[in-house]
Amino acid sequence: MANVAFDENQEIVKEKKTVKAFLNKFGSLIGLILLCLILAILNRDFLSLNNIMNIARQSSINALLAIGMLLPILTAGIDLSIGSILALSIMCMGIAVVNMGLNPIAGLIICVGTGALCGWVNGILLTKLRLPHPFISTLGMMNIARGLALIITAAAPIAGFPMAVQFLGSSFAGPIPVSFILVVIIYILFHLFLTRTATGKYIYAIGGNRDAAHLSGINVDRVLILVYTLSGLMSGLAGLVLVGRVNSAFPLAGLDYELDAIAAVIIGGASFFGGVGTVWGTMVGTLIIAVLRNGLNLMNITSDLQKTIIGIVIIAAVFVDVLRQRASKKQ
């Protein structure tokens, strides 16, 4: 009867599903491994422990920004202001710690707190002022925060941070950079947050269908405010790592960083339409960009050409994704 035919149908779908699920989960990872293999063949230094730790260190700032960016993108939004928020956060810390001589721990809190506060404002602008799209609220914040970062120090950089501030960005635990350990811990926390808490699932729900989320009793505004606050907070944290690495805070720090963060999230398989994306994918996306940059550097390719190549990779990665989805829809 009717059901028999239906069940056979399901079996076929199931078989294809497992292949598809595998590609969905590990598609970008396969890309990363292939990339590493090619680079390892082209350059012998690529696989040295020294270089691998270098990649880990270099990728950490973008990794922190990208995991923050994942949240707005999951809700079908975007946060363009993270680079500027990073700059404002570290300038505030610079004034507090270096100019005013405050306790370095207070400085750390100020840095992360400034980021979170700016993000919270983004969320309020989006939900309470009902601006039509976060592109607009965060574009505004991008300019406001950058302007403030320049104003409060009259555009001058601040150097001479104490060791406690520099620790995150410059220290090593054995061969492993502390900043990378921080990234791993943060990623585990975000993974638990997104997959094992109600709020985490609400983020996917809002991105998937905002009306249905509202009618399912989800406080959409509150979740969105949290999303942008966390995104801002991660900018502050990424700022700490940056200051540690270069031992200086400068108001043009983080310029264009939002673009690499967006690229990492998208290469990692998240959808711009919301509701789709994982912490794991974002990790792989970040590493693909970092490995590519590193490999191109080893081959002495100029930063101008690097930009072009990374642009091609972004388009290619998303195009492969489109092809895959088209193929699975055709069945």
């Binding site: 699932k201 269908n209 249905a212 509202h214 009618l215 009793g217």
Partner: protein, 498 residues
Amino acid sequence: MSIQALLELRNISKSFSGNKVIKNISFSVLPGEVHVLLGENGAGKSTLIKMMTGAYTIDEGEMYWNSKPVKFSGPADAMEYGIATVYQELNLIPELTVCENIFLGRELKKGARLLDRTKMRERAKNYLKRLGQNIDPDKKISELGVGQQQLVEIAKAFTVDAKLIIMDEPTASLSETETEQLLQTVDELIRQGISIVYISHKINELMEIGDRITILRDGAKVDTLDVKETSQDELIELMVGRALDEKYPKRPSLSMKQEGLRIENLKLKNSQSIISFSAYQGEILGISGLVGAGRTEMARAIFGADEKNSGDVYVFGKKVNIKKPKDAIAAGFAFITEDRKGEGLFLDQSLAFNINIASMKNYKKGMMLSNRELLQSAGAYIKALRVNPQRKEEHARNLSGGNQQKIVIAKWLATKAKIFIFDEPTRGIDVGAKVEVYRLINQLVQEGAVVMIISSELPELMGMCDRILVMNEGTITADLKKEEANQEIIMKAATGGK
């Protein structure tokens, strides 16, 4: 057959990735007839019409147009022959005028580039008149009701000089009067010698309008019948493949009659009218009315989905303050929306996610959710409601309408709701699945839930409900017991007439 067929399919088959979805179907449309395609969701109706319109290619078999073999390599090909399609989802651009929409992509031109606006307007007016309609071609689509939009969609068929119009569930989202109007239009088209292939789930409508009916099941043709020589019961039996004991399953009458919900002086936003009524345990309360009467608006206001002006809500005698859906859910409300895909489901999430989303907080273990318990509970609901497929990780998108509706109901069962408001609970669901949804609703009532059903289908209300409220212009114009209600009285109250 002595009359020459306009379009004829002979032994047509079609497979998708090795899966035969259309099996050896023969089918013909005579000039000036309404040929109805009937079948449950997934029976192959859409695939079949997509082959007639050139959207899909044919794997095996032949197609003839006026006895000459034809092959369509795309929709443009089929249009060339005069085959036009009106889909259930309207393909109109709301911000353009009626005239612009009718000629979209086939604009009339003066010379090489300039649009000939006068000529297009005149023709549009003429097309609409041929449909027996008096719609202003300069009006924007967004200013028209769904019924009139549907007619504009049909008017587009004239621009390709259609000889065959395929209509895929044209009345799915129309009210009773709009449906009536559309059926009249179909009559008018037939009088002008145009043939129609008509798909709908509404059997009484098909009986009224069709000449012949072809029933499909599991991708194969069951039979082609003359409408005059068949009955609703026979059609349903052929379509489902077994006799349905009853279209509206009965439930034992219950003695509990405690008032579960009382609405006092509810004023909807932008309305001056006042709504007051009560709903009781053990009964199903139906809400009837024309589209735009304020039925859905009322439900949304009670549920806190939209703002209301004023009014009080009592649940089992206790006043509750509902400002947003969250408050309503806490008070025990469940709202099954009319727009299942747009407002009810997360299509790209798993069934488990969809079932759990409104009750997530109940599965907390410390700071984290217990994913094991979430899956277990979802699995239990999937089994209890006999959702097909049974796989918890399946995406909601891949389910049929009936199964999707079960998932939405499961979501509210999981919140332990006591008051269920169903808005068009069986819209776009095939006959077999409808009965299952009705059974679920009956079960809810028997377990002591308060149930309200908003529906545009009068037979559904009269078959399922113990009491029917009729709405007109934001207020209740009649409160009828099942025994008192008939189509005439309800329509009178719904139109506000005497």
